[in-house]
């Protein structure tokens, strides 16, 4: 497979992540059944499906929180061995969560700074006395964080404790923290859930801008079909842990099995 340029001028590269025949079981329950798909570099890839289809489990597999019983994950053309989520984060995979997972008592700036820690090299003691190397390092990362704050237009809440922020803004702070890790691959778990139309439009613009400006590959789970069809390059459809569709939005939209899954045709 070779790279190509999309109509809006973005370059889609080779396969960055490949999921091969993944099966994930919790006891006797098969949450994910023999699923394979790939994500190409620079792509916005959506995972959709009804509740309980296994979407979040799939993200948890990709970022190493769950270890599948069967199957392989290939990242950057190499087969990945079993790793801790922190090791995977260091490889360049960052994520946001369906139920916001920020430090509520800390302000926006500090929350985003925590996203940089995977890259910091100074020790706890150096950081505690904040001298020399640690000071320089913090300045360097603070500058990076300020660019992200500017990018996501959250200057006005820089010093506000995130617990006091409205939901839509917390989601944005979470995205900012994920970006602070400078990911190659960004996993977004329902970034627009519970938002009003205007907030959704803002979020869509940020997702597209992150992709276009930083060249970040994005995998997102989303329920709003309008959003998914508008912003993603390719869509994977899951239902009851099975893959029932995969392709560009138009293909997926006209796939009978996908329509049935969403309209609720009784399962035999």
């Amino acid at each position: 497979m070779s790279s190509y340029v999309t109509p809006d001028g973005r370059t889609i590269g080779d396969v960055l992540l490949e999921v091969k025949n993944i099966t994930l079981r919790f006891g006797g329950v098969e949450a994910i059944k023999n699923i394979s798909f790939d994500v190409r570099e620079g792509e916005i890839r959506a995972i959709i499906g009804p509740n309980g289809a296994g979407k979040s489990s799939m993200l948890n597999v990709i970022n190493g929180f769950y270890h599948p019983q069967e199957g392989e994950i290939w990242f950057h053309g190499k087969k990945r061995r079993a790793m801790k989520p922190s090791q995977i984060a260091r490889q360049g995979i960052a994520r946001t969560f369906q139920n916001i997972a920020l430090f509520k008592g800390m302000n926006t700036l500090d929350n985003i700074m925590t996203g940089c820690f995977t890259h910091m090299h100074t020790s706890l003691i150096e950081q505690a006395i904040w001298w020399g190397r640690a000071e320089r390092e913090e300045y360097r990362y603070r500058e990076k964080v300020e660019h992200i704050i500017d990018f996501l237009e959250i200057q006005a809440i820089r010093k506000t404790p995130v617990g006091a922020l409205p939901y839509g803004l917390q989601k944005r702070v979470e995205l900012a923290r994920a970006l602070a890790a400078e990911p190659k691959l960004l996993l977004l778990d329902e970034p627009m859930a519970g938002m009003n139309v205007e907030e959704k439009e803002d979020m869509c613009r940020f997702v597209l801008d992150v992709n276009a400006e930083f060249g970040t590959t994005i995998v997102l789970i989303e329920h709003d079909m309008g959003v998914v069809m508008d912003i993603s390059d390719r869509v994977v459809v899951l239902d009851y842990g099975r893959k029932i569709g995969d392709g560009v939005p138009d293909e997926v939209r006209s796939n009978q099995e996908v329509i049935d899954a969403y309209l609720g045709v009784p399962h035999d």
Binding site: R10, E146, H147, D150, E153, Q155, A156, E201, D209
Partner: protein, 664 residues
């Protein structure tokens, strides 16, 4: 009746007869002094006059290399940022005319202005603005290039038609050898008669008009107003009001360049308050609405404060109201009062002013609308030298202004230096000044209607000069002052302002011209009432629901009746008491054409749009159903349906009439 200024106008300008020449002077005299500051990435970035001058030269050179000719128009749109101010100034260096646009204008409004002025280049802040231009680009004919400052999201746009600000600078730097002599010749020849800027008036009626202001207009006005208030190069201001508004052009460009003082651009609109606190401007302008909102938020926060703080605040504010304004005006105040005020300054006023970012304000101005007496008194009692001025785009702002020590909430001050004023027999205010505009662009008819052969400009406002003080007092727009069907005087704005002074009321439209009684449509202030609702456990799901809440109606009714009572005491205006009112289900909005971009009520549009409501106000019905079209921020349209209550209010017989009746 005519009047002139008590302050002598500046007559000596030397070679400082154009903005490019002023810039050269500043780069020479104040070269190492900070000229521009902008908060970005959490840090205040600074540029000296010399640095700014270099960038401006490069931009001008770049524009010349793009083929911009003298006399061409260059539109600039975005929020207040140094780069955009430099763009405006660069135009002057190549003899082009800068046209700043309102950044919140929707695409159609932008289309009219860009087509009308025939802009060749648009310099836009970011993708949001560029996309608006793209949307309308097929219908505007002279536009050749779009320059954008923030490249985000724009990397994939056609690079010949769209180029970045940095690219323009780079090309300009490269072309300097070729362009410098040509630019130097243009700057050397620039003079008072050259067009300095073109500003579109927001227009309460009809299409916006392009007001052409010359270097003479801008520079003499800036110099005169600087003398009036003793402005120096040490002032510091915050540039946050729309760049398309004449006030910002005078304060942030005219006066800043004449005096050589610094302007500070906030990080974003939302951070303006915190940025202002960090800067502590010494010279500050804000519309009455700003001071109103700020006071409302102070009061709400004090309601939530602990008992000790709250009682301290109220006790010292009481004292401040008593002696603060007198101290500010240099009047004699007893030693004890001075001592208590000093104590209050340490405990309350000082910290409060600091929190508001007003602690260093030496001169503060408000204009554009009447300011509530209580609001005005609040700031003055804190020791903030807040004054009023009266002006308009066509006058390059200043017509009248209040001198230090002669400040009142009812008048708008004495005639500004360099201005002559007269009031005709119908009560309309006229002025003639060196700041008076050259013409309306491509509109000789309107120019003739507004400015006569002798140079007198009609303001369209009705007012009179107060005999005792010699200060001008404005009543209302001349065309809005009318009569009720029974012949009583009808001055809607006067009544609206009285109502708007209540924090719970955001906007009012009073109707009554040629009708038998006055009625009102009222907009609630969601911030103030939302807080009140929270404190009183009143649940509501939407603006509309809160607006229609019975307790809100009761509260608004009491406000209206209080205003009726005070109007009854005024012999001239007792006929303007409000008999019936309703609370509107949506906030009046500039996007829906109900307000101008400077947030003035467009009376005719509103009466037409809500004609069903107006009918209901006069036919005696108790409620009315309505459907209103609204425009969302992205330009799409939708509609709101509502059922509105109409409330009758108590009115009083005029006190004057009653007294006469008693003596008869």
């Amino acid at each position: 009746m005519t009047a002139t200024s008590p302050v002598k106008a500046v007559t000596e300008f030397g070679d400082l007869v154009s903005l490019p020449k002023l810039l050269a002077r500043n780069a020479r005299v104040y070269g190492k002094k900070i000229a521009y500051r902008e908060k970005e990435y959490g840090i205040w970035q600074e540029w000296t006059w010399a640095e700014a001058s270099t960038v401006i030269q490069e931009l001008a050179s770049g524009l010349m290399a793009l083929g911009v000719q003298p006399g061409d128009h260059i539109a600039v749109v975005g929020r207040n940022r140094p780069a955009l101010y430099w763009s405006l100034l660069a135009a002057g260096h190549i003899g082009a005319v800068p046209v700043p646009l309102y950044q919140d204008a929707v695409a159609e409004e932008m289309e009219y202005v860009l087509e009308h002025c025939g802009a060749k280049v648009v310099i836009a802040e970011d993708q949001e603005q560029v996309d608006k231009v793209v949307e309308i680009s097929e219908r505007i004919h002279n536009l050749e290039r779009v320059v954008y400052y923030d490249p985000r999201g724009l990397r994939n746009y056609d690079s010949e038609r769209f180029l970045s600000f940095e690219e323009l600078r780079r090309r300009g730097r490269g072309a300097l050898a070729d362009t410098t002599p040509k630019m130097q010749a243009i700057v050397d020849n620039s003079n008072f008669d050259d067009v300095c800027v073109m500003l579109y008036t927001s227009g309460t009626t009809g299409k916006p008009k392009g007001v052409v202001l010359s270097n003479r207009n801008i520079i003499t006005t800036s110099a005169n107003s600087a003398v009036f208030d003793h402005l120096t190069h040490r002032e510091s201001t915050l540039a946050y009001l729309p760049m398309a508004w004449v006030g910002d052009f005078i304060f942030s460009i005219g006066q800043a360049m004449w005096c050589g003082f610094e302007i500070n651009c906030p990080e974003s609109a939302a951070t303006m308050q915190t940025d202002m606190r960090e800067i502590g401007p010494s010279y500050f302008f804000a519309p009455p609405r700003f001071f109103e909102t700020l006071l409302t938020s102070v009061m709400i926060r004090m309601e939530d404060a602990g008992r000790l703080k709250r009682s301290m605040f109220h006790a010292f504010m009481k004292h401040a109201r008593k002696v603060g304004p007198a101290l500010l005006d240099g009047k004699t105040v007893s030693g004890w009062d001075r001592f208590v005020y000093k104590l209050g300054d340490i405990l309350v006023y000082g910290p409060l002013k600091d929190a508001l970012g007003l602690s260093r304000v030496r001169i503060g101005y408000t204009a554009g609308e009447a300011i509530g007496p209580e609001i005005f008194a609040f700031y003055r009692s804190l020791g903030i030298n807040l004054k009023q001025l009266y002006g308009q785009t066509e006058a390059s702002v200043f017509i009248t202004q209040q001198p230090d020590g002669e400040v009142s909430d009812e008048t708008v001050g004495v005639v500004s230096p360099g201005v002559e004023l007269k009031i005709d027999e119908r009560g309309e205010v006229f002025y003639r000044s060196t700041g008076a505009f050259e013409e309306y662009y491509k509109n000789p008819e309107s120019t003739r209607d507004t400015k006569d052969a002798e140079g007198w400009v009609a303001t369209g406002d009705a007012g009179f000069i107060d005999e005792k003080t010699g200060h001008l007092r404005i009543l209302d727009r001349a065309k809005d002052v009318g009569k009720l069907s029974n012949g009583a005087l009808f001055a809607p704005k006067y009544v609206e302002n009285k109502l708007k002074f209540y924090p719970n009321i955001l906007e009012v439209v009073v109707i009554g011209a040629d009708r038998d009684m006055c009625t009102a449509m009222i907009n609630i202030d969601l911030y103030a009432l939302g807080n009140w609702a929270e404190r009183n456990n009143i649940a509501y799901a939407s603006y509309q629901e809160l607006a229609g809440h019975p307790r809100v109606y009761t509260m608004i009714k009491s406000h209206v009746e209080e205003v009726n009572e005070s109007l009854a005491g005024d012999e001239m205006l007792s006929g303007c008491q409000i008999h019936r009112f309703l609370v509107l289900h949506k906030e009046l909005d500039a996007d829906d054409g109900e307000l101008t971009r400077t947030r003035k009520v467009r009376r005719r549009v509103i009466e037409e749009k809500f004609h069903d409501l107006v009918t209901a106000l006069y036919d005696g019905s108790k409620e009315v159903s309505t459907e209103t079209e609204v425009t969302y921020e992205d330009g799409r349209k939708g509609s709101i349906k509502a059922r509105l209550q109409i409330e009758d209010t108590k009115t009083l017989a005029a006190k004057g009439a009653a007294a006469k009746g008693a003596t008869a």
